[in-house]
């Protein structure tokens, strides 16, 4: 219920932040283990889970329903093998850069979102 009050956008942003943080750990682990035998590179399945959620938003579902669906997505974020046989350092480095950038973009967006709340709380418009 709290999620519905906080707003689904905030919920989605926080979920994405968690997913990116997890992905960072996975990439760091891939880099650390790049020379380990029997290690297959791992990845985080997140963006691919968002399809149904997008559909729900587009079909104007209720906020509560979308929120529930979001919790479902959050539960399904998982570490999965990428399928590659061995770790490619350059691929991991670019994935790392992309992931960090996404995280930063999201934090900036969150800052903008909370700026609106702050403005409402302070009651001043400068």
């Amino acid at each position: 219920m709290m999620e519905a009050i906080e707003g689904v956008t905030m919920q989605l942003a926080l979920m994405a932040l968690d997913a990116y943080a997890l992905r960072h750990e996975v990439i760091a682990s891939n880099i650390a283990n790049h020379a380990s035998a029997d290690y297959s590179p791992q990845g985080v399945d997140f963006e691919s889970l968002l399809g149904p959620l997008r559909a729900a938003v587009h079909s104007n579902q209720s906020e509560l329903l979308i929120s529930e669906q979001m919790s479902d997505v959050a539960a399904r974020v998982a570490v999965v093998p990428t399928g590659a046989a061995e770790v490619q350092l350059d691929e991991e480095m670019s994935a790392l850069a992309v992931n960090t950038l996404k995280y930063q973009a999201l934090v900036s967006a969150l800052g903008r979102m909370t700026a609106l709340d702050r403005m409402a709380i302070r009651g001043d418009i400068r």
Binding site: A32, N33, H34, A97
Partner: protein, 143 residues
């Protein structure tokens, strides 16, 4: 749930492993021409073997159920046919004038050093990225 410090631990373990690789390569190079001394056996070339700290349960480690994450590195000694060099004037030469040197390939060791340095850099990059993310997270809510 794994804390934000996990990323640092993983990258630190990777850096430790690469440092060990560098140490071992230096050790091998330093001992490339040592011979079998009196009482001391012939130097056996060392090798670093890395393995995931928790391969079978990576996800459980991510969920914080297992404390060890990242990579573990250990050093093993490799048995190889020693290199026989003809040096009749050497004080430790055998009856036929041969001395035995460890089976260290300087070219391989130099490549190992280069690989270790590059991989170390990659781990540092990952560590810095984790720091950037943590710092940015602190800015949530700021304008």
């Amino acid at each position: 749930m794994s804390g934000y410090l996990t990323s640092f631990e993983i990258s630190a373990s990777g850096m430790t492993a690469e440092r060990m690789r560098l140490d071992v390569a230096s050790m091998n190079l330093a001992n490339a021409t040592t011979v079998r001394g009196s009482g001391v056996g012939l130097y056996r070339p060392l090798q670093v073997v890395t393995e995931p700290a928790s391969l079978a349960s990576f996800e459980r480690a991510m969920a914080g159920e297992e404390s060890r994450v990242g990579v573990t590195a250990r050093v093993i000694a490799v048995d190889g046919e020693p290199r026989r060099v003809h040096e009749p004037n050497h004080p430790l030469a055998d009856a036929n004038g041969f001395i035995e040197q460890p089976n260290v390939n300087p070219v391989v060791e130099m490549t190992q050093i280069m690989l270790a340095v590059r991989a170390y850099e990659a781990n540092v990059k990952a560590l810095n990225a984790a720091r950037t993310m943590a710092q940015r997270a602190l800015q949530i809510g700021e304008a």
